[in-house]
């Protein structure tokens, strides 16, 4: 079990299919990396299965089954899915990230402090990014009115709330200021899902915030 699991109610929303895509991606990565989280999600899916089984039958029109069977000619039974190979250059990326990674995607240095890959995840309420921090480096101090979800994918980081390693999940109401610093060892790579907007609070924040709100940094 990881030191920092995702909260149960978030796992429930994930299993029930009610989380928006950004936070759902964060939970999927957490479940891919943390066996205890995966087991918890399996259990919740089993609750979903049990609810379906307990369901009384809604009437289906008789022709529906015939229509379904008529379609099977066009639908091949596919061979067993094999685990997709990790992308070159993204060996640290667990499989739920794969559909979001594109050829030619590269790290972009931001404010001279950290690297970012902005992911194109549908829905505009969240900003979804991969961030990379060299050991000892930190993110600019920031806050945001909404929620922030973080999953550590490589290395580790420490902030006022504790130390986070691979698979660990952090959820924070953004009104707490926090300043994560990457731990020694491999560079820290994390998925960060932030409810917009984001406000920088450091000495430069006043000047940089207009750029953040326009999505430039």
């Amino acid at each position: 079990m990881s030191r920092h699991p995702a909260p149960d109610e978030l796992l429930l929303d994930y299993a029930a299919g009610t989380l928006p895509e950004g936070p759902a991606l964060a939970v999927a990565l957490h479940a891919a990396l943390d066996p205890a989280a995966r087991q918890a999600v399996d259990r919740l899916n089993a609750v979903g299965g049990a609810l379906i089984e307990r369901e009384t039958e809604a009437s289906l029109d008789d022709a529906a089954l015939d229509r379904a069977i008529a379609r099977l000619d066009q639908v091949a039974v596919e061979p067993r899915a094999t685990p997709s190979a990790r992308r070159p250059g993204f060996e640290w990326a667990p499989s739920p990230l794969t559909p979001h990674l594109r050829a030619g995607m590269g790290w972009r240095r931001i404010l001279g402090k950290f690297d970012e890959i902005r992911l194109d995840v549908p829905g505009d309420a969240y900003r979804v990014s991969l961030l990379r921090l060299e050991p000892g480096r930190g993110l600019p101090e920031h806050k945001h009115p909404g929620y922030e979800y973080t999953v550590c994918l490589q290395g580790g980081y420490t902030d006022a709330t504790g130390s986070y390693g691979v698979g660990d999940f952090a959820v924070g109401p953004g009104d707490q200021r926090h300043e994560p610093i990457a731990d020694p060892g491999d560079p820290c790579i994390a998925l960060i899902v932030v409810e917009k907007p984001i406000v920088l609070t450091g000495p430069w924040g006043r000047w940089l915030n207009p750029l953040v709100s326009r999505g430039i940094i």
Partner: protein, 184 residues
């Protein structure tokens, strides 16, 4: 009625010999249930039928990826139907590829002992749900049936968010404790 074992046999029959009679058997059992489940979320009958139809076609396509030691047929079909419902709600230009979800739920490095137990989880979960308090069952049902986040549930039940969260936690804790007791 179809037992969990029989349902798993039918999916395997599709995988091994494209058995249409097996498909029809699964369809008769699950399609009306999936439709009823989806309708609880306020989806109209026609759209719910579409979800059920597409989910069962997906069961045919992906039958070879079903692994009875990792999930029961009902659990597997639930995850497929859930993803189909998400696609329908979003009318997404980029529908969720079920395979991506399957990879998450059937991760590569799982140890063999654990996965055998996962197959039994469903049966126990079904039993244990009968033992939850009404309050606990209501929050869980609302989350699943009505497609609502815990924040919305709190508003609807006119309860503080903290109360809903703690009911969810307690319900899940009871399930977890009972399952873990089985496993040791």
């Amino acid at each position: 009625m179809l037992t969990a074992e029989e349902a798993a046999d039918l999916i395997e029959a599709i995988a091994s010999r494209q058995d249409r009679a097996a498909f029809a058997g699964l369809y008769r059992h699950f399609a009306p249930r999936v439709k009823a489940f989806i309708m609880r979320g306020g989806t109209d009958a026609e759209a719910a039928q579409e979800v059920a139809q597409e989910a069962l076609i997906m069961v045919w396509r992906k039958a070879a990826s079903f692994n009875r030691s990792k999930a029961s047929a009902a659990t597997w079909i639930y995850t497929i139907a859930r993803n189909k419902r998400i696609d329908l709600l979003r009318r997404s230009a980029r529908p969720i590829d079920t395979e991506d979800w399957l990879v998450v739920y059937a991760p590569e490095e799982e140890d063999a002992d654990k996965s055998v137990l996962a197959g039994q989880t469903y049966t126990r979960v079904k039993e244990l749900m009968g033992g939850l308090s009404v309050n606990q069952l209501v929050v869980i049902q609302k989350a699943f049936y009505e497609d609502k986040t815990h924040t919305v549930i709190a508003k609807e039940l006119k309860l503080p968010l903290g109360t809903v969260k703690s009911r969810i936690r307690l319900a899940l804790l009871r399930l977890r404790e009972a399952l873990e007791k089985d496993e040791t």
